[in-house]
């Protein structure tokens, strides 16, 4: 009974073709391309191989622009960044076996950050499935925990309805990655192409519009709160609710703190914006969390890097949690008022229920918690290029309008703290999974999606060495992207943990590197090296003026740490500050 084969085509996506027109007879590969086009895909990131050779046979005659990457994982991460930059579903293609397993990290990345993505993988021919055929891997089994859903397509006539459903699932409700595995012989087989018209499953009905009674309860909490805080998460950006969100914050006068992925839900330069919370959050933000009497979380999942130790998190606050996924309510933090629904719908309804407010006294208290000494110290410019200065110089040169993507590590936190994100869809970083190597492929994905925007990626010398082979892709596609390497010769974040929590025992964190300037040149890109503070701005301007990929190697101080920092397992109130920088009197 549980082995019965059934496709979405038989259930929901019943086809309704014009009875007068003879349906076209196409190969599975051609149907795959048509279905991707019909779903709105224009760009796909991929890498060919045995099981997808038939699909690549059909690609040139389709309207899809295929970006040939140098490693399948970067195809997946480029598709992920494409999705974040455009709001559309990112698409990646890989062959069976190793091609498919190389996508797993990218799927997990998209799953943890709720990014809409569709992965098409080739599978060995059906007769070989289960017989350990050449390059056979049970990718639907492997990807089960890192996808929102996945399919093994058994018949060519199932391809069109399956791909339509895959896009629908990826984009609707809480977005996520969906994998469609297609055996080689199904790509080759011919059948009538009947574009499906319907999509949907009885068992899949995400709650979009929240219950009005929940909204009213939330509004009551907001009306009563003396020291409220709004915690802005990725959900706001995923639902395209930035305008409603800003209206809501302004109307209620409640200050806003951000998770790593919530940055840009409202411009950080807005007077109500307090900055990032959590492990590397600002001091005044984490202090405000400790003091607040109401926390309104909109579209965040209370990740441990944001909350710190749970029993010390917002200890005095009642909690309102707006989330499209009911499973997030109460998963980590006890919630007094849950509002299940899409952030945009919830904000529209909340706006109608809440009164105007202002919290000037509370804002002044929070402002008093700012670490002014640290802020002033950041303005001191040593001779060597400092990470904060580099991040700020890129932000200023581009007037905060560029897309900035990051890799993972210290540079990511420096960028998150100091860039000053203006738009959520232009701050692209790997949050939940913390995938090193994300920087360059995400810049490629973002540039493919938004060729009209300037694209920068800020990376470390460690992460860049994972994925710099994608410079070849960037050169082949003639992409105008700029890579800023914060090069400290260490796996800096791990070194920082070893420094602070493991008695300075530097174990396997010193990392050599090629000459990044020569490396860039060898790929046909431009390389620039910066070794002093006064070269930062001119190097950035030079990079901006050069067409094609540019790599700037910023050689920074080797042992700088990211502060403040909440020690692992600590509560947000237990921040560690830079011992070199005197603290404000409290």
């Amino acid at each position: 009974m549980v082995t019965a084969q059934r496709s979405p085509g038989q259930a929901a996506g019943k086809s309704e073709a014009d009875p007068a027109a003879e349906p076209e007879i196409l190969t599975g590969s051609e149907i795959t391309c048509r279905s991707l086009e019909a779903a709105g895909a224009t760009t796909v990131f991929g890498y060919p191989g045995g099981a997808v050779i038939p699909l690549y046979d059909a690609l040139p005659s389709s309207n899809l622009h295929h970006v040939l990457v140098r490693f399948e994982q970067w195809a997946g991460l480029a598709a992920d960044a494409y999705a974040r930059a455009t709001g559309e579903v990112g698409v990646c293609i890989a062959t069976s076996g190793p091609g498919a397993t190389n996508l797993v990290t990218a799927l997990a990345n998209a799953q943890l950050d709720s990014v809409p993505m569709v992965a098409i993988t080739g599978q060995v021919t059906q007769a070989l499935i289960g017989r350990d055929g050449f390059q056979e891997v049970d990718i639907t089994g492997v990807s089960l925990p890192v996808t929102k859903h996945n399919y093994l397509v058994q018949r060519p006539e199932d391809i069109a309805p399956t791909i339509k459903e895959a896009f629908y699932l990826a984009k609707s409700g809480r977005p996520g990655p969906v994998l469609v595995d297609i055996p080689k012989n199904v790509f080759v087989a011919k059948t009538a192409y009947i574009p499906p018209t319907k999509v949907g499953r009885k068992s899949y009905q995400p709650t979009i519009t929240p219950n009005i009674r929940q909204v009213r309860l939330a509004a009551d909490e907001i009306a009563q709160a003396k020291k409220p805080l709004i915690m802005a998460g990725h959900g706001i950006i995923l639902s395209g609710a930035e305008a409603e969100f800003q209206q809501f914050a302004e109307h209620t006068g409640i200050p806003v703190i951000y998770t790593l992925l919530g940055l840009g839900a409202m411009p950080e330069m807005h007077p109500l914006s307090l900055g990032m919370m959590g492990m590397h959050g600002h001091r005044h933000v984490n202090r405000a969390l400790e003091e607040c009497d109401l926390l309104v979380n909109i579209g965040a999942r209370f990740d441990d890097r944001a909350t710190g130790r749970l029993n010390g998190f917002a200890p005095n606050a009642r909690v309102v949690h707006v989330d499209i996924d009911p499973a997030e309510i109460g998963k980590n933090v006890e919630t007094h008022v849950p509002v299940v629904g899409d952030a945009r719908e919830a904000l529209k309804m909340l706006l109608a229920e809440v009164g105007e407010g202002n919290h000037d006294a509370w804002m002044r208290w929070i402002d008093g918690q700012r670490n002014r000494v640290l802020e002033a110290a950041l303005e001191d410019r040593p001779e060597w290029p400092e990470p904060y200065s580099i991040v700020k110089a890129i932000a200023e040169a581009t007037d905060h309008e560029a897309i900035v993507t990051t890799d993972v590590g210290q540079h990511q936190m420096w960028a998150a703290q100091q860039f000053g994100v203006r738009y959520g869809t232009r701050w692209i970083t790997s949050g939940g999974l913390g995938t090193m190597g994300y920087g360059l492929p995400s810049a490629i994905g973002a540039k493919m999606g938004r060729p009209d925007l300037e694209v920068w990626t800020i990376v470390g010398d460690g992460g860049f060495q994972m994925s710099f082979n994608e410079l070849a892709t960037a050169v082949q596609e003639q992409l105008d992207i700029n890579v800023a390497i914060i090069n400290n010769g260490y796996l800096g974040m791990v070194r920082q943990w070893q420094d602070l929590f493991h008695n300075h025992n530097y174990s396997e964190v010193r990392i050599s590197a090629p000459d990044f300037v020569q490396l860039a040149e060898s790929f046909g890109a431009t390389g620039i090296r910066v070794t002093s503070d006064d070269e930062i701005r001119s190097a950035i301007e030079r990079a901006r003026s050069i067409k094609g990929p540019v790599v700037i190697d910023f050689v920074v101080e080797p042992e700088a740490n990211v502060y403040p920092m909440v020690p692992p397992g600590g509560s947000n109130s237990e921040m560690v500050h830079d011992p070199q920088t005197p603290q404000d009197q409290e």
């Binding site: 009974m1 549980v2 082995t3 019965a4 084969q5 059934r6 259930a11 639907t140 089994g141 089960l144 925990p145 859903h149 093994l152 699932l169 499953r201 009885k202 068992s203 899949y204 009905q205 709650t207 219950n211 009005i212 009674r213 929940q214 309860l217 996924d325 009911p326 499973a327 309510i329 109460g330 998963k331 919630t335 008022v337 849950p338 299940v340």
Partner: protein, 179 residues
């Protein structure tokens, strides 16, 4: 307090659905005491009965996670007082000479049925709730159980409908979405 919850899960009859359910429970660290799967009253739908041990909020989280699986149509957390549960056991019991008649007598007391016999053993089927089965097995052990196979639990609520709808879950049980 940790206790066993009986979840009745209506799922679409899709390839791999059992794998999806079990894999979800494993990766989220929920303990499954027993699981049974079979056809339901609706064509194309199967019903699983999962016995899950945990705190109430943990089981609530398990329920919500189950709902996220595309094939899961409905999850009902059956309250103990309001549900009938059944298990089935087949035992091969040593039974010759005088003990043979004692085994047969006991089987009758428990409403069990003899399915097969050899000169030295009896194969007996018993159904009942967990405690009845446990008690039956305790008695049979006296004679020597040669082989045993026990089904997981199946359960059904007494009320005319399920006790917990999807809408309850989506608003954390505070209000139903239909309000």
């Amino acid at each position: 307090m940790q206790h066993a919850h009986t979840l009745s899960v209506l799922v679409e009859d899709q390839p791999g659905v059992l794998n999806r359910v079990v894999s979800l429970m494993r990766r989220r660290s929920f303990n499954i005491d027993s699981i049974t799967v079979g056809h339901s009253e609706q064509p194309g739908m199967s019903r699983m009965t999962l016995v899950v041990r945990g705190e109430d909020n943990e089981v609530e989280q398990a329920t919500k996670q189950l709902y996220k699986l595309l094939e899961v149509v409905k999850v009902t957390d059956l309250p103990e007082a309001d549900a009938i549960t059944r298990e089935m056991v087949m035992v091969k019991v040593a039974a010759k000479g005088q003990s043979r008649s004692e085994v047969l007598q006991l089987a009758q007391v428990y409403g069990a049925r003899v399915l097969d016999a050899t000169p030295t053993t009896l194969m007996i089927e018993a159904t009942g709730d967990e405690h009845q089965i446990d008690s039956f097995l305790t008695m049979m052990r006296v004679f020597g159980i040669r082989e045993m196979v026990r089904s997981g639990k199946i359960a059904m609520g007494r009320s005319s409908a399920g006790t917990r709808s999807r809408a309850d879950v989506s608003t954390n049980g505070v209000y139903a979405a239909a309000d």
